[in-house]
Symmetry: C2
């Protein structure tokens, strides 16, 4: 039987080259059983004419499918579905009946219902995206990343790409972090003191599991990164929210029975406060007095374009008391899922064993690509380019905020990529965000950052990491107008 | 000051092109502070002569470093370390003093000390690697994987590459699994019933966390996959080892108070037993009688080259009782870290929330690359090629095992990639493995697969997924000889 040419059509939203679309169309027809073994494909000429594309494109697609054994050719008579083509499913799928399982009982532990807000995936479609933490396509060094990824896909790196490392990491990436990234933060660490993680999120999660139990107490900043609150809630430890001021976490406010202190000294999340040296020393003193550990999330230290970053807490730590969390998510891109933990060996050993049980190791290809990108100097060039751009945007932001009489509640002393903003008391920023969306403006309401059941409702975060300079003034004006209209 | 040309040398073990090595050498000199701002680099001519390489190579490396702002050029006078180059560390790293922290007390939960054996990373250097679960470079379709990865790195996929998906996955990969992979196992699932995981390991871990507590009981096969035992030990649930025979798990041996049953019906790990249809139905009956859930690890179903694979348990399940674990680690490569969970929506919802807290999502680039590789038909072609190769090797294995009078304790009815072997009672296969290593033969001792404190010592696993056919006979002969010598 010949397959009628009419069953083939190009999907208007399809991605990939025309050749790939044809390959996919035929492979999927075979895999779903719509095209049977021995059935004859339309000739390259007729399919090309039907789809309105070049015949050579169809011929190349057919040749690929021949090579992959989906098709056979019988001399000049044409192309047929191969006998060796993968067989369609032999069993009819079961119908979708209601479960006999009582899931309320069957689920032993619940993890849904956290407080981490979900941001719109299509933020790029908004005209004024004051959104935090997504990669800006105009700043990212896509070309060199691609080259490094390609190199990491080469024959020479076959083992790195494919191997099961069990609990280990790519030695090249570890070496670069130890020899180049950490010295810049004043940290000296041996490879056994470093663990690669799936982003800072994974680093914080692993740390919480190893250090906290139901009988221990964690102190965390209030307001803070909401996903950290979810992690601590799931670990079922006691949690003490500790106030922050314009210098970050207040050491004296940390309760006496605290075991682990989570802090973001470079740019407090979300107020962006930078902790001065004196406060850093006081925090270390307080931790020593309590015999507590400190987990230092050093995110965004690279974005210190106003002044050089302060030494990390870890670099001031003589006791092995500080566990350091680094991340490439902000400086490269969050979809990379690559961060690292630095700490004393007994701690890293447990975190490594847990990571091996949870997921083995971050994919080898990702680790090697990052190692190349870092070691060839592209990373530093990228950070400098991003810092320059953020510096420029920040100035435009400040001018626009001033011109529109909006109120800044917190700003990083050294840089960063956002302002923490305060609207008048009567403005619920959740409502403000909804109203602004309709005007193609994205802002982040502040309430989810706060602990407790009655968070302040009038804060919001304005990031400038993804919005072009030219859009800032108009975006800020929209915000001011909307706040005015809510007055 | 001019940097003397003598400070430059090419490391004999260095990877990458010469141009990249020069770039790296200079970037690292600057980053570590060895080369200071304004210092003059050797001329391209003298550096090329010194290193014995082409001048154009040096020129291109310098030009790259110019573009990245590591170097500046002053007309014809040469290249200098740029003022804009990244600064070396400003703080001297703290010396490595003993910790003041008492880690015995500070660590709340221990995860080290598991039973999962670590395999040699350099297995490729062994002449007779009867090693399990690593990618065979001679079988993997490296060229097409590279092409798909490259496509997934394109501008069009920038968002997929870089974005923070929060708790979501690449819709293209989910769609392919739902429409093409699962129907082949007789499974029909909606996107909300599928979760992408970092390999099967991560899928099993997530499942254990959601379903098990300290008050619940898991039944697992004895012998079984050691990493699953580690996962269950860490979850602190009650664990019942259940005997397997040549048809896999024995349903009647599952204790009455079991909540969750873990099983590997396609190829029991490690005995490779294939569960027949009748046994599958009996297992489902037993689970229903207990109102227990079943976690079906369907690894290696693709390698059913002797007969078509049996329908999955999940395809026979009318109750929503079966949670299905799929993996691309065996059929693609383990370093990919990509698998998936299929189950009822209430279960997947909790697993998704937990995954988001632990690691957010598997890297976007990996997901999209796999989606392309699958949808273009390369995956099916690869599986067919691997199946053919494994079929051939298995025949050679069987002949050699017979010729050398070794004893097979378990073999997959439909295929697989290993034999489960039994040595004479007095042979400790841990010792056998050590002795064989000296002869460049790698085997896997069987004891870690068993539960309990007194595992049988005389079993071992022989995999043929990474050893060329031509090496098999000699390798088996070495094993027979060594067993004889231990007699």
């Amino acid at each position: 039987m010949a397959l009628p040419v009419e069953t083939f059509f190009l999907h208007p939203d399809a991605q990939g080259t025309l050749q790939q679309q044809i390959q996919q169309m035929i492979a999927q027809g075979i895999l779903t059983g719509r095209f049977g073994t021995g059935e004859k494909l339309p000739s390259t000429r007729s399919l090309a004419r039907h789809l309105g594309i070049s015949r050579i494109t169809v011929t190349i697609a057919y040749t690929e499918l021949l090579a992959n054994d989906y098709l056979t050719s019988k001399g000049r008579s044409g192309y047929y579905v191969s006998e060796n083509a993968p067989a369609p499913p032999q069993f009819s799928p079961a119908a979708d009946t209601p479960d006999a399982v009582d899931w309320t009982r069957a689920i032993g532990q619940r993890f849904s219902g956290g407080v981490t807000p979900v941001k719109p995936q299509n933020w790029g479609k908004y005209r004024y995206p004051f959104i935090y933490g997504q990669a800006d396509p105009t700043l990212f060094d896509h070309a060199n990343w691609r080259l490094c990824a390609l190199q990491a896909l080469g024959q020479r790196d076959f083992t790195t790409l494919t191997t099961d490392y069990y609990d280990q990491d790519d030695p090249k990436l570890i070496e670069f972090i130890a020899r180049h990234s950490l010295p810049r933060r004043g940290i000296s660490a041996r490879p056994e003191q470093i663990l690669i993680t799936l982003g800072a999120q994974n680093a914080l999660w692993l740390t919480a599991q190893v250090l906290l139990t139901q009988r221990r107490r964690a102190a965390l900043e209030d307001p803070c990164y909401p996903a950290l609150r979810d992690i601590l809630t799931q670990s079922r430890c006691h949690v003490s929210p500790v106030q922050v001021d314009h210098e970050g976490l207040i050491p004296d406010a940390i309760p006496d029975d605290t075991d682990v202190i989570f802090t973001t000294p470079s740019h407090q999340c979300p107020t962006t406060a930078t902790m001065p040296m004196q406060r850093r020393r006081a925090l270390l003193e307080r931790a020593r007095a309590l015999d507590a550990l400190i987990v230092e999330d050093d995110y965004e230290f690279e974005m210190s374009f106003l002044k050089s970053p302060s030494p990390s807490l870890k670099s001031l730590d003589q006791d092995g008391r500080v566990i350091y969390v680094g991340s490439f998510s902000k400086s490269l891109f969050p979809g990379l899922r690559l961060g690292y933990l630095v700490g004393s060996e007994p701690f890293i050993r447990e975190a490594r064993a847990l990571r091996a049980s949870v997921l083995r190791h971050p994919p080898g290809h990702i680790q090697r690509t990052a190692a190349y990108f870092l070691s060839l100097g592209h990373y530093d060039a990228l950070v400098r380019r991003m810092s320059n751009a953020l510096h420029g945007r920040r100035t435009v932001m400040e001018d626009a905020i001033k011109a529109n009489d909006l109120q800044i509640a917190g700003r990083g002393a050294y840089g960063g990529s956002s302002f923490w903003m305060q609207a008048p008391d009567h403005v619920r920023t959740e409502d403000l965000a909804v109203r602004l969306r309709a005007k193609s403006v994205l802002i982040e309401p502040g309430a989810p950052f706060f602990n407790g059941n009655a968070p302040p409702q009038n804060y919001y975060r304005l990031a400038y990491s993804s919005i072009p300079s030219t859009q800032i003034a108009a975006g800020i004006a929209h915000i001011a107008q909307e706040i005015h209209d809510m007055g």
